[in-house]
Symmetry: C2
Subunit: 360 residues, 2 copies
């Protein structure tokens, strides 16, 4: 007989994107930044003396916290550094959602959310987006009616790339009685012309927590570093009660801090990625593949009439040729693939292979 | 009204040892190894090109897993790498202990265990050690009678330093119906003359999981790297369901692997620490302070008659002079301080200051 809890025995784990180690693979499947982290990160790494490692790290990554506080014009008490953004999502469920309560997100959404709900053995519901991937008008009311305790909203949305405005977010925060989690994993790729900024909302809404990650915008997926932004009362129990005492390591703290301090370099990569995104969308359109408009570093593509090949087959054929994109086995996305915006070279390789696969 | 779960609202977080950043502090309070990690760790760090960091790490730290499997003569499926040993402890509770069930440990023990139980909102009981810090004779039966689901036993024991034999461990594993977690955070410091080795027990006991950490023995507290050893069926749900998908980062994986591969260097530090432990115990004894015999890298010292100063005051006075040791505010340990074995220089500094404080 298994010793596992019944809910754990029943559940399936998160199914993450493939991480092939081969250098031959063009990797457009897990939304990584195609460019290396900033030169200041390399300098910071070179300056680390391993003789510091026998000591525990600073428990709250205070140097990082101070740098992030300064960047976002907040107090350190508004910030919790975490071992990747995923740790923050888990901590939020652990701290704020009882097994008797309900977690909700949109359909579609980041497929980790239902896994976190299953682990906590709490209820989980999905609120469908509109046909144009928008939020339902009465979202806050709807969530209250369903007694939702925490709502996870990824913005820009994944896998659609859709950006919800800060006004929309604020309306949900005002109406909703539970905790609103805005997962801003991809926010760095939003066009600055949009002047999108939800951070000031945390001052006005005590039920709002924003997730940021160094994985995408700062080219540090390998480092596992994210952080949460919220009013001090929401941050405190995450920081002082449910977090593993030393959740981020000394080296990651130093490199993540260096990356934030050299944000201008990363902004340059965001600009390049936005330009490549536009070219890639155009290239796909020329092949007869439409993409929803995206403010993230990926495109959700519809593989449908008149294309003769279906999305899953296209994904598999690309994979056979060492180009990895993402296919999701779920009804809402069955005619779609998600393509991470790579470097222009990578995108060209993809387009050229797709042309031969679609129109052989 | 707080959004926190009622159990989180009620609980207190883990109270970790102070981590002063000042170089002036002699730090004998959190059981770190006084020596730096192996030169191969420094070489591995120097060889890292930060341009790998834009990609996600290997999800299961496979290179580390293979090295650890080889070291322990096990299969990779018997090993789960974690973000410090603390992550493994948390994952065990998340995966194996339902809120309706009971976690138990000894009294005294590592004070994180009750925090993990409170977070999971499960029951928690303590089994007192005997007056000579030994395990009660009928431990397995006692745990079954109390319907304990998971028993955490730190071995060598903290904060006493007591080593329970593999025969004692095996007897508990045989008798106990729940999950037996042997926290071997300090096992590297056990005298090799003891020929102590519990790892082979995992082949015979499907309810046994062993924790190892790189923090103490391998001088890598700052890196956050630990791992679990158990039969594949116990490891699988931790690895595939409840673990954050990318729980260890690329750099930590590389350095931890290098540290395991250069184990001989660390063994040298363990030998030095054992010798220093003996000298420190003798020095304390000469001051009228008795220590229980320890197979770990710390000594639990009794500050009692004829010493005129009490344990807490001694801790505070040492701290004022920049020597940090550990004092626990709990009844069983009120006349005790725990001293990490430092380098001989650090230990001498401590003894010399204690002499002036005790006998002014």
């Amino acid at each position: 007989m298994s010793l596992q809890r019944p809910n754990i025995l029943r559940m399936r784990g998160y199914s993450f994107g493939e991480q092939p180690s081969s250098k031959l693979v063009t990797k457009l499947n897990t939304n990584e930044n195609p460019y290396p982290p900033s030169p200041q990160v390399a300098e910071a790494l070179a300056s680390i003396d391993t003789s510091i490692l026998n000591r525990y790290p600073n428990p709250m990554a205070n140097a990082f916290r101070e740098t992030a506080a300064c960047l976002h014009n907040l107090h350190v008490d508004n910030i919790i550094p975490t071992n990747g953004g995923d740790e923050l999502l888990r901590l939020i469920v652990t701290t704020y959602v009882d097994p008797t309560e309900t977690v909700a997100t949109t359909a579609p959404a980041y497929s980790l959310y239902p896994v976190l709900a299953a682990t906590q053995n709490c209820n989980f519901i999905e609120v469908p987006l509109t046909t144009s991937w928008n939020l339902p008008e009465n979202l806050g009311t709807l969530l209250n009616k369903n007694k939702v305790k925490a709502f996870f909203l990824i913005n820009p949305h994944a896998p659609t790339g859709q950006l919800f405005s800060s006004e929309q977010i604020e309306r949900v925060a005002s109406e909703f009685d539970g905790l609103l989690v805005i997962d801003e994993a991809y926010v760095d790729f939003v066009d600055p012309m949009q002047q999108h900024n939800c951070v000031p909302l945390i001052d006005r809404h005590e039920n709002l927590i924003i997730l940021r990650t160094m994985s995408k915008g700062y080219s540090l997926a390998g480092l596992r570093f994210g952080y949460g932004l919220a009013c001090a009362d929401l941050i405190a129990p995450l920081a002082n009660k449910t977090r593993d005492s030393y959740n981020t390591d000394s080296i990651a703290q130093i490199l993540a801090t260096a990356a934030l301090k050299s944000k201008a370099y990363s902004e340059g990569t965001w600009q390049k990625i936005r330009q490549s995104r536009q070219r890639l969308a155009l290239g796909l359109q020329n092949l007869g593949i439409s993409c929803s408009s995206s403010e993230a570093n990926f495109l959700l593509c519809t593989v449908d009439h008149p294309i003769q090949i279906n999305a899953q087959t296209l994904y598999e054929k690309l994979k056979k040729e060492n180009i990895f994109v993402r296919y999701f086995e779920e009804p809402l996305l069955q005619n779609k693939i998600r393509i991470t915006v790579g470097s222009d070279d990578e995108n060209k390789r993809l387009l050229s292979l797709m042309r031969t696969l679609i129109d052989p």
